[in-house]
Symmetry: C2
Subunit: 338 residues, 2 copies
DNA sequence: CTCCTCACGCATAACGTTTTGCGTCGCCTC
DNA sequence: GAGGCGACGCAAAACGTTATGCGTGAGGAG
């Protein structure tokens, strides 16, 4: 019914040897034009497609790449995924998207899962990655491109944006608009991205000659619910902040939920800012001031770095690409208080 | 450095034959406890992991499934993806997510790509699927679960929601609120989902005893920009509609963009409704009346259907699961006009 | 005419599994 | 003590590729 057996069927049909068919396919050895066309005719006639399993058995490559993300439901990550596809799919690679946030799944499990499948490369969101995981990666020999930080595995590249500068520009913008008591709601406390954004916040305040009140920093999770929980903690303070800088847009949206539930006007009483510039940031009321995070370009760049490695054209230095971003000013921070 | 050669290394290490190791792994034949533990020790010691390529060479299965979606950037689809992962990942399957909307990519190409990789099954969004594509699927013998419509391939299942009823409930709600001149903005004209939602709209009007004015139906694409374009066409009419029913939330958001750009108040002058209940629907101002579309459950269901097939426990009837949904009433439709 | 050199094609040996038909051994039954 | 039977383990044959070392003509150089 369907595609006939394999390369030997093609060889028989074309009256040549198996190796010749293989050579026609790979082009690694010269084949006369006449033979080539006989083989091609046979391939066409039998509707032959090479068996990727057999191929990978020989070559020890699977022509597939895994993307590991903390939460594909965060609209930032699908964009990363399409960026990767932009580059990888034309080369015949298959991209598998693996979401860690499935019920009670961990990075280690997910990593084991994709390593067991012998993917050629991994684009890894570092969130939740333990030293044991890095050890696993290192000894597996699989190529990895990290998103957001250097994972310190030899021969692995990473791509990031200047998080501290990004958050810094948000804080400066708020200061410029007269906000002074500026709070911060981060993601998971141990998360690297979260702490980068937190230091950016601290440094911006310090370099403006202001003090940093630790009471004004809370950590939660990179989700809408997390943001709401964080905001409620800030609302217990004796004196409210007049602005809340959030580590991503989802958190900011949650913060807005919580403030609004308390009847607090935004930005009249408290300004709120986000990070990533997901689509919802422009839709919510008030529209969210945020930092655009070039997700698709991050995906493309990481795929290119990975591809270089897979083609073996890189020595084992660690390469680092830093993409640029810019502040997006919207309503949630524009009104000057009092 | 890394995981040693293969099953024969394990066999040697444990002092047994290759087949015995295989039997320990698969459990398809009894193995004495003593032997089993020697083998397990060897596996542990050598950090052995079976080679999936070799395995699939024998078994003719890849333990992988492809999801083909029109646009992963539409927040509906990532949810479908995690739903599929919920079911498939625990079984050791790898899910590859394939976005058709990459620059100038077609369903046929994407299909060929995943079929060439010999995936065991495909979860297919029918959007943009030609008869030739279906032919390709049928003769490949790959298991397919379709989303949204029966693709008519023997032995393929599909899962959908009652689109017509969903849109119908929107229209009834609008009629109940006094809206009378109700327009419709669809996705691509030839898209099946789009036309289902369109018929739902027509039928609801007819069964309420109202006429259907074809001038009030426009088709565009399932995106925000598409929605804006559609709205602009409606705005050229001599008399404005007083409500616009959109085929999905993205379109509705675009419609709101366009209306707002013309200074038209929503829902005061024109009400707008969406479909899917993506997160942004609750965030935009005015919050969007819409129909919740159980994306994650759609993913889970389709994965279960696929798994049944892959386990061979189904004869070749076409199974159909219809999931339920409900109207979500928000501000964009609640004000009664005049 | 002989020898060398290409250009082309072939046979064969991996690659790492799973499956299946056969031993072999020990023990039970009569 | 003979026969039978279970339980366990092994060898070998696939599965479909790609890489590699050789063979064989044809044609050119001497």
């Amino acid at each position: 019914m369907n595609s006939a057996t394999g390369i030997v069927a093609v060889a028989t049909e074309a009256g040549v040897s198996v190796s010749t068919v293989s050579q026609v396919l790979s082009g690694k050895r010269p084949v006369s034009a006449a033979t080539r066309s006989r083989v091609e005719a046979a391939i066409e006639k039998l509707n032959y497609r090479p068996h990727p399993g057999a191929r990978s058995l020989r070559s020890q490559r699977t022509e597939s790449v895994a993307l590991i993300v903390p939460d594909i439901t965060n609209p930032f990550y699908p964009l990363v995924a399409v960026g990767i596809q932009d580059i990888l799919m034309p080369q015949g690679y298959l991209l598998s998207v693996n979401d860690v946030a499935l019920p009670s799944r961990t990075v280690s499990e997910t990593l084991r899962h994709v390593l067991a499948r012998r993917v050629d490369g991994i684009v890894l969101t570092t969130y939740g990655c333990t030293p044991a995981d890095l050890e696993l990666i290192a000894q597996s020999g699989t190529q990895v491109v990290a998103l957001g930080q250097d994972i310190g595995v030899s021969g692995s590249d990473y791509v990031d944006v200047d998080e501290a500068a990004g958050i810094g520009s948000v804080v400066e913008h708020l200061l410029g608009n007269g906000f002074r008591r500026i709070a911060f709601v981060g993601g998971e406390r141990e998360d690297f991205t979260s702490s980068l954004r937190h230091s950016g916040y601290r440094e911006a305040l310090l370099s403006a000659g202001l003090g940093v009140d630790d009471e004004l920093s809370v950590f939660t999770s990179f989700t809408r619910d997390g943001g709401a929980a964080g905001a409620r903690r800030l609302l217990e303070l004796d004196t409210l902040p007049d602005a809340i800088v959030c580590a991503n847009d989802l958190i900011a949206i949650g913060v807005i939920d919580a403030l609004r539930a308390r009847g607090i006007s935004i930005p009249g009483t408290v300004a709120v800012t986000g990070y990533d510039d997901i689509e919802a940031a422009g839709l919510i009321t008030p529209a969210l001031t945020t930092v655009d995070n070039p997700a698709r370009e991050i995906g493309r760049t990481s795929a290119r770095l990975l591809l270089d490695r897979l083609n073996g054209s890189v020595d084992n230095v660690t390469r680092h690409v830093r993409l640029s971003q810019h502040l997006v000013i919207r309503e949630s921070s524009t009104v000057v208080p009092h």
